[in-house]
Symmetry: C2
Subunit: 461 residues, 2 copies
């Protein structure tokens, strides 16, 4: 179809949808460093990880060699319910900007979870079901991951126990109700259901909770209840693997129309969306078959790639999970109340961290008000109200398009539009009312977090 | 493609999208009765209507003869941004119900307005722009129509002034903020910006407003500001015309795969979605080319078709708009606080009313808790959280599918899924908490509304 006129939206047929996930680690010369036991600093074994995670998912987590992992039929069927997602040509945005650049975005928001999270939720729930488990536990902050997991569990008839950070549980009741509609048990964290929760409540009565505490409760609930395992929605290499379905669909659609992106942009919190979007393109680059620019966009308020260090650190603030080697601001770093909840993570996927460290990827940061301004521009011409997280990618894509306008270059820009902002209207309201502020941590602010990174032989930074 | 395996979702290509709206009135033997001047009871003239409405839209409102109205290119381009909407085969719902029936739904919720309303909003905004107007005014209750109109106006660079019922403005701030993000001026009604608003405020200080008052304010704002006209999101024949794009797409997709529905179901408030969905199929039935069952589903709490009368009545509770001949409960009928806000209308499209009166269509009513139970079932297997309005159609479709299960008939059921329920989580919460109740008005309740219908020669009922 090379040379054919590009429609506004490209949908693959069911036959064209990917049948395997692409494991970018197979093509990396420098593999991501192994997870370490937080006590011994020895690499985690499969047996150790299986106490917490599903067996098949541990296999995927540790698999640095197999390039193609077949997607089981039941997951393919579920994908057919809400995928393929459209690859959209942003004709209206191009016109608005007056740029010679061609802008495309892969839109993952057209499902009830409102984001790409469902791609991995169904995979993780499926393997739990296959293993004969009763259910899974997880934590959720803003609620996108919890919603996605609830949907997947409802479909498969699996118990779903979500520990939701108490302040979100109370202040964002709508996502909580979506989860309940999908049959999930949603517990405000800290709770009296776990030892760690009870301890927290005794020590800090009236606390509004934290993601770190919710993780600890979810992990405890999994290991103390037979037939349950813990699942996580980002950061892990298995999650990037599942999210490769985004990039695989995207590349098939672009190949079909003879489109080659010059630059590929994604927002980056834990890194699952960006990692998934870029993976088949990154594979080509790693194999020397093609070249692309890759740009990670993070909030200036939580700049792990652009201002963090590359070191082993705890994945959770509770310090109960294994250590991962990644770009990190330190697990005790407390991001300001940035509205892009999904990007407020102190670390970054080990896979993306290694690729960034090895020079295969760029990173930029964006301030919140500029991000919402880009979101507003985009919404008004493209008709989609984007999630604040996704809007970081929009901001960077607009910047690239304006650079093309200056230079007159007809580059092709691709970005990931991870989700919709329907449950983020308080943030939009703050922006509409002119009450949104920016926050950039000082070097001194950052130092406090960095000081909390564990120091041990081999972990110099 | 007859005989080909049916995919989960059928998307038309851009080339296959309809290029004209289908005007079902052209095929009706008994045309819908003309709008009457509320003062003289004489048919409204084009000149009279043009005081309030855009010129081209008045032409469409009065056009009972032209079967095909070409869709202007700029509207086609806008449609390409969020259309075609998918025709979905509900494989998972069929399996869950264990029915031999084949269930399809046309899903109109994958756009930021969250519903089909955008199909008419862009058309009405376009003609306002073409006429050289500065802007449009409208009212909104729950906010779907206001959101859709804001999006269309933002795209075309047109002023958009929305009078939002004050209790919704305060209790549903999220839709208000979506409208503001799209640049609309949203005013809580009653306001001090209009004479009728000031009068209302003086008479009832602290009132939380009503849709009738908001309509009156929007109409006054349009006629007292040069360069403005008033637009309306349902009930009018022009709106059904624009919404025929739903049915046209649907029929093209079904024809392509050799699918013929036995029964076509839609929820009915003002009737624009149902009217749009069924129109090309109804055209075939009216011309004697094919037969289908058509089923309108309304809330038991606001049963205009099933318990109202066929008579001339006011379209608005403020009694400033023309009289329409329709099934009505009386413009003073106050529906209970049913959560399906979009279905709380005392009347029904004149086109659908005539078709129903002439026996071309059936109507059923459904109680709220049963509707939410159907919504929950649907959400858990089909992965879409439906709007309460849309869920009335789901309820009826499930009932038809269960009837097929009993009789063993392999019928094909098509229903309209008009939108998503992301902004209706208070209602879902009430259902999840077991606090939702049903309300069916008594005959005495209804009589009060019916007594308010104007009586004049020729308006016997």
């Amino acid at each position: 179809m090379r040379g054919k006129e590009i429609p506004y939206k490209i949908y693959l047929s069911e036959e064209e949808m990917p049948r395997y996930w692409y494991n970018v680690r197979a093509d990396m010369k420098n593999k991501p460093a192994p997870l370490l036991d937080p006590g011994t600093h020895e690499p985690m074994t499969a047996a150790g990880l299986e106490q917490v995670f599903c067996t098949e998912l541990v296999k995927q987590e540790l698999d640095n060699d197999n390039r193609e992992i077949p997607i089981p039929q039941e997951i393919l069927d579920f994908y057919k319910m809400y995928r393929p997602s459209p690859l959209v040509r942003a004709y209206c945005l191009e016109k608005k900007l007056g740029t010679p650049a061609k802008i495309y975005y892969k839109f993952e928001g057209n499902n009830t979870s409102g984001s790409h999270k469902l791609n991995s939720a169904i995979a993780q729930a499926y393997y739990a079901k296959e293993q004969g488990l009763k259910g899974v536990t997880t934590e959720t902050g803003a609620g996108q991951w919890g919603t996605a997991l609830s949907m997947a569990c409802a479909y498969l008839g699996l118990d779903c126990r979500v520990f939701m950070v108490k302040c979100s549980y109370e202040q964002k009741p709508f996502r909580r109700e979506v989860m309940r509609t999908y049959g999930a048990e949603v517990t405000p964290s800290p709770s009296d259901q776990t030892e760690v929760g009870r301890k927290m409540l005794a020590e800090f009565p009236g606390t509004s909770g934290s993601l770190g505490c919710a993780i600890s409760e979810a992990v405890e609930a999994a290991v103390t209840h037979p037939g349950y395992r813990y699942v996580l929605g980002s950061v892990l290499s298995q999650v990037l693997l599942h999210q490769s379905v985004i990039g695989m669909e995207c590349k098939t659609a672009m190949d079909k129309y003879g489109i080659k992106p010059d630059v590929i942009i994604g927002c980056a919190g834990g890194g699952s969306n960006l990692g998934g979007l870029i993976s088949p393109f990154m594979g080509q680059k790693l194999r020397g078959e093609a070249d692309y620019r890759f740009v990670a966009v993070e909030p200036a308020s939580c700049p792990s790639l652009t201002r963090g260090v590359f070191a082993y650190d705890f994945c959770d603030t509770g310090k109960v999970c294994p250590l991962a080697k990644m770009y990190t601001l330190g697990s005790s770093f407390m991001p300001s109340a940035n509205h892009a909840g999904g990007l407020r993570y102190h670390g970054m996927s080990a896979v993306l961290s290694q690729l960034y460290h090895d020079g295969y990827m760029e990173a930029v940061s964006a301030e919140q008000t500029a991000v919402f301004s880009a979101a507003e521009t985009f919404a008004r011409v493209e008709g989609i109200l984007p999630a604040p997280e996704s809007s970081h990618a929009i901001k960077a894509a607009i910047d690239e398009a304006l650079r093309c306008k200056e230079t007159g270059r007809e580059e092709t820009i691709l970005f990931g539009l991870t989700g919709t902002g329907y449950f983020d209207m308080y943030a939009y309201q703050a922006y509409n009312d002119g009450k949104m502020t920016d926050y950039i941590p000082t070097d001194a602010d950052l130092q406090k977090g960095l000081d909390g990174i564990p120091r041990f032989p081999g972990n110099e930074f």
